[in-house]
């Protein structure tokens, strides 16, 4: 049995674990990252499951990853390049389509085809959503203050948080009305929100997509408007709300982070599953792996979601009962599936005119919010949506490294898919049935699609749970609802990346500011570890 000692152990080599590890290694600490899979990356991976095709197996597009993190960790040196989307479309059963483009005025012209009023309302809508993004952006990098504490750090923190909502100068005159708007935005359903701006079904359906991706809420559920904001607050080079591909797939992000970590003396050890956190007198002192090795460190940082961290690898007896109860009650419901498809050529979508850049990004075929809600109704009954909302894209249209020239990789994200499938749960046969169902849905819009398929990988919430380690397959490692955001994430009293166990920290998307390939939880957690170790933090992020 090997015994290893380091300054810091990070459990899980996902993007947040690697971000935290890289920042800590840059600060001079000896960091080791233990990963259960044979590959690195968590849900930001690129794997070649069919020869010649690279898949972004889980997450598939990039916008939220904080540019300051890319800058501090010099990810470009290790091969990271973001490719902006050219546009997005929703295909319609009558043969028409609705498109958004990289260029704002082209988008306005496009919306106008469907509704003159909506085209102009879109300007107002963009402004309002952008304003919310401006408020939330500085909060992402902050450790949420504990509102019940009287420590100076928390009092100042609360003030700092409040400032971003109320300070007139900072935000160019956010008045009483806008504060009300913010509160409404955080609590409304996306349907109600969009109804205040738009009249046409297709405009609303296209925009509402971002509010349901990854969540177990429907478009009529209160709180779904915030999910839209969560997907909108990212950016590609100052273009807020824009999305892009990571060249070489999402694995390039974690590969680059690993490059940075290695350059600063850190190490990732794949195929080393942590099964137990070793504690002594209320302190975390090390971890034990499935292989039987023990690793000891001054600090342990878990990139696993809060349920896995405290209900699977930490002994319940070492934790306060109330904390364990709250962790058990943490909402983390799987609602999404995915197909990764190796295509022999470019599928035709007759709805989209040839050469239209709208087809370069995400494509959908849900025409009304009611359809979306119907898809959600199926999920509530424990079934996959008969008429699902899909977010599909063909990264190889923009990225020359995913497949050989002329060949294509298609990523299809599916909403909604239950973790607990009714009538006996998931098995291989039902998984394949689900895959065929999605292929059929897409084939309705693409006559040659089915013939081009060489291979596809079906991902249900069960695989995301078993393989990636996302409890119930929830892509955000916990619902993005107000009761579990900011000071409440993951549980009240523990929103500052620390845990009831001394020397043990959390850096996963279960913590503030939540999911998406953002890196902010990792960078924030690293900051707290460094503060506790009295080590100076440097970089653009802090």
């Amino acid at each position: 049995m090997a015994k290893n000692t380091h300054d810091v152990i990070v459990i899980g080599a996902g993007h947040n674990g690697l971000t935290a590890a890289s920042y800590m290694a840059k600060a001079g600490l000896d960091v080791v990252v233990l990963e259960k899979n044979e590959w690195i990356g968590g849900a930001a991976v690129s794997r070649e499951l069919y020869p010649g095709w690279k898949y972004s197996n889980c997450s598939y597009v990039c916008s939220l990853l904080r540019p300051e993190i890319m800058r501090d960790l010099e990810l470009y040196k290790y091969g990271l390049q973001i490719i902006p989307y050219e546009g997005s479309v929703t295909m319609m059963r009558n043969g028409d389509y609705y498109a958004h483009y990289h260029d704002h005025d082209m988008t306005i012209n496009s919306i106008r085809r469907h509704s003159h009023k909506d085209a102009e309302a879109y300007e107002r809508y963009s402004r309002d959503v952008l304003r919310q993004c401006k408020i939330i952006k500085p909060l992402l990098k902050m450790t949420p203050p504990d509102l019940t504490s009287f420590k100076p750090k928390d009092l100042f923190g609360a003030l700092e948080f409040a400032k971003h909502f109320a300070a007139k100068d900072e935000l160019g005159g956010l008045g009483e009305k806008e504060i009300y708007d913010t509160i409404r935005f955080y609590t409304m359903s996306i349907r109600d929100y969009l109804d205040e701006y738009f009249e046409s079904d297709i405009t609303k359906a296209h925009l509402a997509g971002s509010a349901i991706i990854g969540t177990a809420l429907g478009p009529c559920s209160p709180g779904s408007a915030y999910v839209l904001l969560h997907h909108y607050m990212g950016e590609v080079d100052g273009s807020v709300g824009a999305w892009g591909y990571s060249r070489g797939g999402m694995g390039s992000i974690t590969k680059a982070m690993t490059g940075c970590l290695n350059a600063h003396g850190g190490e990732v050890k794949p195929d080393n599953e942590v099964v137990n956190v070793i504690t002594k007198n209320g302190r975390a002192i090390g971890v034990a792996t499935k292989k039987g090795d023990e690793y000891y460190a001054k600090k342990i940082v878990s990139n696993l979601d809060v349920k896995r961290t405290f209900l699977k690898i930490t002994e319940e007896s070492s934790l306060p009962g109330e904390f364990v109860e709250r962790v058990k009650n943490f909402k983390i419901r799987g609602s999404s599936g995915k197909l990764n498809i190796a295509l022999d050529g470019l599928p035709e979508f007759p709805c989209i005119p040839e050469g239209d850049p709208g087809g370069g990004g995400d494509m959908h075929f849900t025409e009304t919010i009611e359809e979306m809600e119907g898809a959600y109704d199926d999920w509530k009954r424990g079934e996959w949506s008969r008429n699902p909302y899909v977010d599909m894209c063909i990264p190889s249209k923009s990225d020359p490294t995913m497949a050989a020239p002329g060949k294509h990789y298609m990523s299809v994200f599916i909403q909604y898919v239950p973790f607990n499938l009714a009538n006996g749960g998931w098995n291989e046969e039902r998984k394949q049935e689900f895959g065929r169902h999605i292929v059929n849905c897409i084939a309705e819009f693409s006559p040659n699609f089915r013939d081009l398929i060489n291979h596809y990988e079906v991902r249900t919430p069960l695989e995301l749970d078993n393989e990636v380690g996302l409890t119930e397959g929830n892509i955000f490692q916990g619902e993005l609802t107000m009761d579990q955001l900011m000071f409440n994430r993951p549980v009240p009293g523990y929103a500052q990346y620390r845990t009831p166990l001394k020397n043990m920290y959390m850096c996963s998307s279960s913590t503030h500011p939540g999911g998406g390939v953002m890196g902010a939880p990792g960078a924030n957690a690293a900051r707290e570890v460094l503060i506790d170790m009295n080590i100076a933090q440097t970089g653009n992020y802090y």
Binding site: I83, H102, S239, P357, P400, T401, P405
Partner: protein, 399 residues
């Protein structure tokens, strides 16, 4: 009433029928008397093509001169500061040239076919200067700007694109190498050169072949993320690569109204191109030797890494005492590096001996008001971005 206009406005390049068709935005500018697109669709996407796929740019307006004659070798060596006596045939070299006062006139590339045949490419017109300088040499200098069509084909997939076009074994061509091809029945010179700091090539041919060349390359790159690329995107890539631009980063000596604006090679980071130990005399040698010996260079051109994400366009640079120590000549947010970078001309010792505690005053426009940002800068290598693929032999192929 469309009468024949004797007066000619801007010239059209031999690619104009194609570039104007490719332009979705109809944004053009005047480059050396030619009409060329600043942007075809969106600058960001065009920029990305150069770092991700293949970007295509009409380079025809570049000044191009053919230098022929038995003294051609000796003449170019006399003209430029770099020692070209050992330059091999079928290679290209990056060069600068100065006036007799040792002040830089321009930078460019020299293509050597043989000891008696060269091509010079540059930004500023020097036909007159070439003729005046050629006094006493057995050379002829011919302006080939209008008679040579040129395309830049740059980006990670550019080699594959050009192989599809018909450039066999192109992957073996070394950086700064060049090779004559016959493709689709016409002669094309391909050099592994460019202004993007990435893998890339430049193609030179007779204007009669231009349209076929454009169409064939666009077809060849169809599956390789090819995209026409305008001046704005080029500006972004060249800053990332740390390449300087005459009359942007420094004033060309012959264009400077104010003599104090003239710069020596040492003042614009081009000292490495001055070979004082070159046996023969070259224009400006005496003055440059003196400057080197006395060390009285006043300026330097450096790379800056600037805090925050607001580009320091036109910013004045200060020391910690708020004394003016220089100016930003080019600035951008780099989409690839996610860094706020700039090229700046600083008064020595800033930039050479003093590299810390330097600040840029940035005026960031925010809805009709300016936000004044006092941003900390670090002096860094001017070549901000230089990926491994740039100089790899054989070049990367996408198959």
């Amino acid at each position: 009433m469309n009468r024949d206009l004797r007066f000619t406005a801007l010239k059209k390049t031999p690619f104009h029928s194609r570039t104007s068709l490719a332009s979705r935005t109809n944004k053009y500018y005047n480059w050396n008397g030619f009409t060329v697109p600043t942007e075809y669709s969106t600058t960001e996407l065009e920029y990305t093509a150069a770092r991700n796929g293949t970007s295509v740019m009409d380079l025809t307006p570049m000044c191009k001169y053919m230098i022929n004659g038995s003294d051609a070798n000796r003449f170019v060596d006399y003209l430029v500061t770099r020692d070209l006596s050992q330059m091999e045939d079928n290679t290209v070299a990056y060069i600068i040239w100065c006036n007799e006062d040792g002040k830089v006139m321009d930078d460019g590339t020299i293509f050597k076919f043989s000891n008696t045949k060269f091509m010079l490419c540059c930004a500023v017109k020097i036909y007159n200067w070439l003729h005046d300088s050629a006094e006493g040499f057995d050379v002829s200098c011919e302006d080939a700007t209008d008679t040579t069509a040129a395309l830049a084909i740059q980006g990670p997939t550019s080699c594959s694109t050009l192989k599809n076009y018909g450039a066999d074994d192109l992957e073996l061509l070394k950086p700064f190498g060049m090779k004559q091809y016959n493709i689709n029945g016409y002669d094309v010179l391909i050099s592994r050169t460019g202004f993007t700091g990435d893998l890339g090539y430049e193609l030179w041919t007779d204007p009669a072949n231009a349209e076929n060349m454009w169409d064939s390359i666009m077809e060849a790159g169809k599956e390789l993320k090819i995209r026409p690329f305008g001046m704005h995107a080029l500006e972004m890539t060249r800053i990332e690569a740390g390449f300087i631009q005459t009359n942007t980063d420094f004033m060309a000596a012959e264009d400077s109204l104010r003599p104090v604006r003239m710069r020596s090679p040492y003042e614009i980071g081009m000292g490495w191109l001055v070979h004082l130990n070159k046996e023969s005399y070259f224009v400006g040698k005496r003055a440059l030797k003196k400057e080197k010996e006395t060390g009285n260079s006043e300026r330097c051109l450096v790379g800056l890494d600037i805090d925050g994400d607001k580009p320091a366009v036109g910013s004045v640079i200060y020391n910690e005492k708020k004394e003016d120590i220089g100016i930003v000549t080019a600035a951008m947010w780099s989409p690839t590096m996610k860094r706020n970078v700039a090229l700046a001309s600083l008064k020595r010792p800033y930039g050479i001996k003093i590299k810390e505690n330097i600040f840029a005053e940035i005026y960031h426009p925010e809805e009709l008001e300016y936000k004044k940002i006092w941003a900390k800068c670090k002096v860094v290598k001017r070549q901000f971005f230089s990926p491994e693929r740039r100089n790899k032999v054989p070049a990367d192929l996408y198959e």
